[in-house]
């Protein structure tokens, strides 16, 4: 299929260009816009970004492959990025990962046959105090995971409900 930005996307890109003295810095945000639009930044999308910005394709490819959040291939509808790094490791991150592997019937890095879930193991997501945790498709974090919480998450995702943002109070606070 041919990939094209919508008028709104192009407008957004134009707006971004004004933030920087040259076009190249728009590479990262434009890849984000593309990924939000198409769900991935496969080579054809990388080319679209390059052409839209008037930058070399190789440059965009180099950038897209350097940053892990850009999906260089199509993923499941929901990408479950399970943190297993240090604090999450200590607090059972690998147990959660294994639980998900079993529950979804796939190995880490794979996508379920129905294309619903991709399961990844990722590096520290900066939620160390709320371990173990995972991030859903580059969006909200789901913290302090237990098997029960994972079950609930999977059920609601299957029902098309994305997880809400979990506000975690500062332990010293009473009012916030």
């Amino acid at each position: 299929m041919a990939y094209e930005f919508t008028k709104e996307d192009l407008k957004e890109i134009e707006k971004l260009k004004a933030r920087y003295p040259e076009v190249k810095p728009v590479t990262l945000p434009a890849l984000w816009i593309a990924q939000n639009r198409f769900g991935h930044v496969k080579p054809e999308v990388q080319k679209l970004v390059a052409d839209t910005l008037g930058l070399p394709e190789a440059h965009v490819h180099g950038v897209a492959t350097f940053y892990t959040q850009y999906y260089k291939e199509e993923k499941g509808k929901h990408v479950l990025d399970v943190c297993t790094c240090l604090s999450c490791q200590l607090c059972g991150g690998y147990d959660i990962l294994e639980y998900l592997e079993e529950k979804l019937g796939i190995k880490t890095g794979q996508t379920t046959e129905d294309g619903m879930f991709t399961l990844n193991q990722v590096e520290c997501l900066g939620a160390c105090g709320y371990a173990p945790m995972l991030q859903v498709t580059n969006d909200n974090y789901v913290n302090n995971l237990t098997p029960e919480k994972v079950d609930k998450l999977i059920d609601s995702l299957k029902n098309g409900e994305k997880p809400e943002y979990e506000k975690i109070r500062m332990p010293q606070h009473k009012n916030t």
Binding site: Q46, P56, A58, V60, T65, F66, T68
Partner: protein
């Protein structure tokens, strides 16, 4: 004058210098991979580590601080420095691997890292023998390997483009190739993909590395990651002779090396000349090796009953002289060539003069719009300015065509005028065409007498480029009548002397049966009783520079010393002294 102390020796300097380049310019050595003098400095290979410090001066007195032993106190930088990006400064003290164990250790450590994921496949690698990684590992690397876990695997035998093949496992991520396409050729076709030890250079997906300068990345790749699709597996580098020469495929005259084995040119690589091509050359020029090897005019040919048959040199000389004598002078046309050297054109013109003919005419070979402002020129011939400076009558294609039509005997110096559409068979119908030629072509097919002459790979000769710089070639391969061990112009072995000291491969068929133009003309002249004694390109150039003001001061010696000579740009035509 400011001075820097390197390994205990003081060196004065002026201006700005990067330490690594400064050390190299002194003829000393520090190992490195990513640094390239013509590109930006990423300092990413970390190989050129040295220890750097500064003499300490007292803040109050401005005097050097002296320690108890009477030596100047040195404040060392807290870490070893990559010498490539350190600016040489006054009172700087440097220890290289020559004098410092810590530096030796650091360089060895770094090579160990570079080698752990390298395939160590030198025996099947084209780069072996001219590989900075191989050479520097022998000199500075660890003796064994402590790496007993799995290596990283990456794509191999990737056809990056029509001319370049990638083995990503050999790559050490120096980024010379990507920097080349960003900074030099500016096609931006290469990038590093992925991250960490999965890194390797690649094009954008689905894109070809068809940069017109792509093969330069093969030259500057410090390992065997990028190899030439054409040259791959043809020869080991130590089997070849390396002869300095000039690119004759366009008007720039890039300085090159011809790599020969068994009297075949196997590859062409650029040779550094700051004034002309720096370290680079276009891919097209490298194809010229085929001109030197393939489809050569070998042994004279004569038309008999409308058909070309092989002849002998004696017959060719006799026929040449007969035809000159048989025609009215006004019916004879000598055509010089921007594709031939200054010496060849001069010899042709000298002979014309000797027999009382007008000087040769010529037409340029220019394709408007082909040039790129870098090393590819509109001019497809290497010596257009040389032909002009000899005072030849420069004709446009139409005018030349008319001249040919009005002549009865046409003597044409290696220019494939029919192939490039200046002349056609009808124009030559009924004329006698004598063609001095290096290669067979549609033009030679129409000739009544084909006299095979040497190419730039077989003779010493000079060419004046589009910028009026005169540069010369050296004979790289033997003909039937030359001998590498007797011809002092010919190189013996590789310039670096690591290889065998002469080309001892002896396939006779690879030697072309041709003569330098000067030799044929001398023989022909002597045969018809004319006084002519030309003995070499070198002597011819001496004669030219003695006779023609536009070539004043030109000699092979100076060209060799200075990498060519810039001729006065306002010399439009030749003046006879």
């Amino acid at each position: 004058m400011p001075q820097v102390i390197i390994d205990g020796q003081a060196y004065e300097f002026e201006g700005q210098h990067k330490l690594l380049q400064f050390i190299q310019d002194l003829g000393k050595e520090v190992p490195f991979f990513c640094y390239h003098p013509s590109m930006s400095i990423p300092a990413n290979c970390r190989q050129c580590m040295v220890k750097v410090g500064m003499y300490v001066k007292s803040r109050e007195t401005g005097e050097y601080e002296i320690d108890d032993n009477g030596n100047k106190v040195i404040r060392w930088f807290p870490k070893l420095q990559t010498s490539c990006n350190v600016d040489v400064a006054d009172d700087m003290v440097v220890h290289t691997q020559e004098t410092d164990e810590e530096v030796r250790r650091a360089q060895k450590d770094n090579l160990e890292f570079i080698l752990i994921n390298h395939p160590l496949d030198c025996p099947i690698c084209d780069q072996a023998g001219e590989c900075p990684l191989q050479i520097q590992t022998y000199k500075y690397g660890p003796e064994g390997s402590r790496f007993e876990v799995k290596k990283v695997h990456k794509p191999k035998r990737v056809q990056l483009g029509p001319r370049v093949v990638l083995d990503a496992e050999r790559c050490i991520n120096c980024t010379r190739c990507t920097r080349f396409t960003e900074e030099i050729s500016k096609t931006h076709q290469l990038t590093i993909t992925s991250r960490g030890d999965k890194n390797y250079p690649i094009t954008a997906p689905g894109r070809e590395f068809d940069d017109p300068y792509s093969l330069n990345t093969v030259d500057i790749c410090p390992v065997g990651a990028l190899t030439s699709a054409d040259f791959r597996f043809k020869a080991r580098v130590w089997e070849m002779n390396q002869t300095p020469s000039i690119d004759i495929t366009n008007g720039k005259g890039c300085n090159i090396d011809l790599w020969t084995r068994d009297n075949l040119v196997l590859r062409i690589t650029p040779r550094f000349n700051e004034e002309v091509n720096d370290h680079w050359m276009p891919d097209e020029g490298r194809e010229a090796y085929r001109i030197f090897n393939e489809n050569r005019a070998s042994k004279p040919k004569q038309k008999l009953d409308g058909e070309q048959i092989l002849s002998s040199w004696n017959n060719a000389i006799a026929t040449f002289n007969e035809q000159i004598e048989a025609h009215d002078k006004k019916d004879i046309l000598f055509v010089g060539s921007p594709h031939a050297s200054v010496e060849e054109n001069y010899v042709l013109s000298k002979f014309a003069n000797l027999v009382g003919l007008n000087p040769p005419v010529f037409t340029t070979h220019i394709e408007k719009g082909k040039g790129d402002g870098f090393l590819i020129t509109d001019d497809l011939a290497p010596n257009t300015n040389g032909s002009r400076m000899l005072g030849f009558n420069e004709l446009d294609e139409k005018a030349l065509k008319n001249k040919v039509k009005n002549a009865k005997l046409v003597v044409l110096l290696s220019d494939h005028l029919v192939d490039r559409g200046v002349l056609n068979a009808d124009d030559l119908d009924g004329k006698y065409l004598i063609n001095f030629a290096t290669n067979n072509s549609e033009t030679t097919k129409l000739a009544d007498l084909v006299i095979p002459i040497t190419t730039a790979a077989e003779h010493a000769a000079s060419y004046v480029n589009v910028d009026r710089r005169i540069q010369r070639t050296l004979p790289a391969k033997e003909t039937r009548y030359t001998n590498r061990r007797l011809d002092l112009e010919m190189s013996e072995g590789r310039l670096d002397r690591y290889g065998t000291n002469f080309d001892n491969w002896v396939t006779e068929d690879n030697k072309v049966d041709c003569l330098p133009l000067w030799r044929f003309i001398t023989e022909a002249a002597n045969n018809s009783g004319l006084d002519l004694a030309l003995t070499s390109g070198r002597e011819i150039m001496e004669e030219i520079s003695g006779n023609l003001a536009s070539f004043e001061g030109v000699s092979y010696e100076i060209m060799d010393e200075q990498g060519g000579i810039q001729l006065s740009p306002d010399t439009k035509t030749a003046k006879t002294k």
